[in-house]
Amino acid sequence: MKYPSQSVALPYFVGALVIFSLQLVFGLVGATMYVAPNLISPDLLPFSVVRMIHTNALIVWLLLGFFGSAYFLIPEEAERDIWSPMLAKVQFWLFFAAAVVAVVGYLFGNYDGRSYLEQPIYIKVGIVIVALMFLLNISMTVLNGRKTVITGILLMGLWGVAIFFLFAFYVPANVVIDKMFWWWVVHLWVEGVWELVMASILAFMLIKLTGVDREVVEKWLYVIIGTALFSGILGTGHHYYWIGAPAYWQWIGTIFSAVEPLPFFAMVLFAFAMVWKGRRDHPNHAALLWSLGCAVTAFFGAGVLGFLHTLAPINYYTHGTQVTAAHGHLAFYGAYAMVNLAMITYAMPPLLGRAPYNQNLNILSFWTMTTGVGLMSAALTFAGVLQTHLERVMGQDYMDVQQQLGLFYWIRLGGGVLAALGLVMFLVAVLVPGRRAIPAGAAFAPAE
């Protein structure tokens, strides 16, 4: 660790892993409700509450990971300490407390909003305050230090995250308009500004892990985020097909979202090209595996599974089936969970002042978790295709079709258990470093 203030990233990474664990616990409960619906009384714990904790926990831990990643990488890029480490610490505890209050509130029926945005209004205001503290802190750090392409794009992405979140406060009575702008938060996050955050974190790690020239990485980065936004912004149209918006979105959404796999494909090419070009053999092999795995899994989850149902004539039949859930799981895992797990794997040893540790267990956790989520998405894809045929093509009743999908929901639960097992391995691999401490910086010299 070059700069002492990078250590503020530590609570963010640990907090992210705590909330990630919470997400998986509620994911397993939800998956169990699909196969054993009479096990838990819906008056005690309805599926809706399980799902909102599952999805909200996902978003919260990914954001915690992004915050931590920004605090870890910006000092190295800007070549100066964080503007206010104290503000960063306060920000963490405020955000973490808001998340805990929200989750406990959900269990007692205290929610209000739209999907993913169920937080009561005071929590939403709290999120904005936290975001402002964060943006002030990192922007001041970057402005006072060396400006790189990586920090520029990261900052643009993170400002975008905050700006588009403001549409969470706009809840018009007209459902059509409501849905249109709800996607300004959801789609412009995950198929827009989050891709900027992901690409810049990945670029930072590839420079560090492969020792490749910054100039090469920067050009790639612009090409990747360029294709991401050129396709992704108008690609929002693929959510406007059947919500009461005009028919022209079917053309716009189809054409532009068909190009959306391109940035993810470019990220795969980029990541592997950097590894081939780079001459550096960084001792943290697990971090490199997560970085490459992130690019590849994001391509399959976001790119391939997304393309599978993005064309309007196909989406007419698949829309609102388990195909969407299959895509959602692998895309979120590949693009955003894995980039955070890569960063955590990379940053934990320097944060703890050690050489990379528990590499084999970490690598095993990578394969276990990725197989688990892959299995889950495969099962949901089969369930979704079957559901599409029976319900949307043949016209059978929703519940009658659900009764026929039991096998796939069991396999999905199995995939979830495997993913949870992978997470346990990951937690041990990064949070139990063992006793043998090595002085910081002794075993690996930072690139550049």
């Binding site: 809706s48 509450v49 999907s115 149209g237 919500i243 388990q322 859930a325 009764q403």
Partner: protein, 148 residues
């Protein structure tokens, strides 16, 4: 890749993103206007608005889909008003909804369970008016096989 300079890549990125965002915003503005025009033939009453608030406060979307969006644990509700004959006998459909809400959870073996939402008669009425409103939105003929 070789001939493209970093500065050129950057300019293409900023220029292109700005251009596509402007196009997107203009199209959304047009769609917004059309959605407002729709309110003239399908007006949003105070009841429908209250019904939507119940939909949000009870997190109905965290089990059901509406126009295909939400969770897939329970049926799509965009056309449920027609499914129970709302266009033929609105009062009877409202009674059906009332009985439906009151019967939850059914505890039927092997069926996904819906919680008891403790809705008053007025709440159920607002909910019914809301579901009537959404049933009349032009969703480009989605979903296939929907009751009309």
């Amino acid at each position: 890749m070789e001939r493209l300079t970093t500065a050129a890549a950057r300019n293409i990125f900023y220029g292109g993103s700005f251009f596509f965002f402007v196009v997107f915003a203009l199209l959304v503005a047009n769609s917004y206007m059309q959605a407002r025009v729709m309110e003239q033939t399908n007006p949003i009453s105070a009841e429908a608005e209250r019904g939507k608030r119940i939909w949000e406060k009870k997190a109905c979307f965290d089990c059901h889909t509406l126009f295909g969006e939400g969770a897939r644990f329970a049926p799509e509700l965009g056309r449920v008003w027609f499914k129970y004959g709302g266009d033929r006998d609105p009062a009877a459909t409202e009674d059906t909804f009332k009985a439906w809400f009151a019967a939850q959870p059914t505890g039927t073996e092997g069926r996904h369970q819906m919680p008891q939402l403790h809705l008053s008669d007025a709440d159920v009425h607002d909910m019914a008016v809301f579901l009537r409103w959404v049933a009349h939105v032009d969703t480009q003929n989605w979903p296939p096989h929907a009751p009309k």
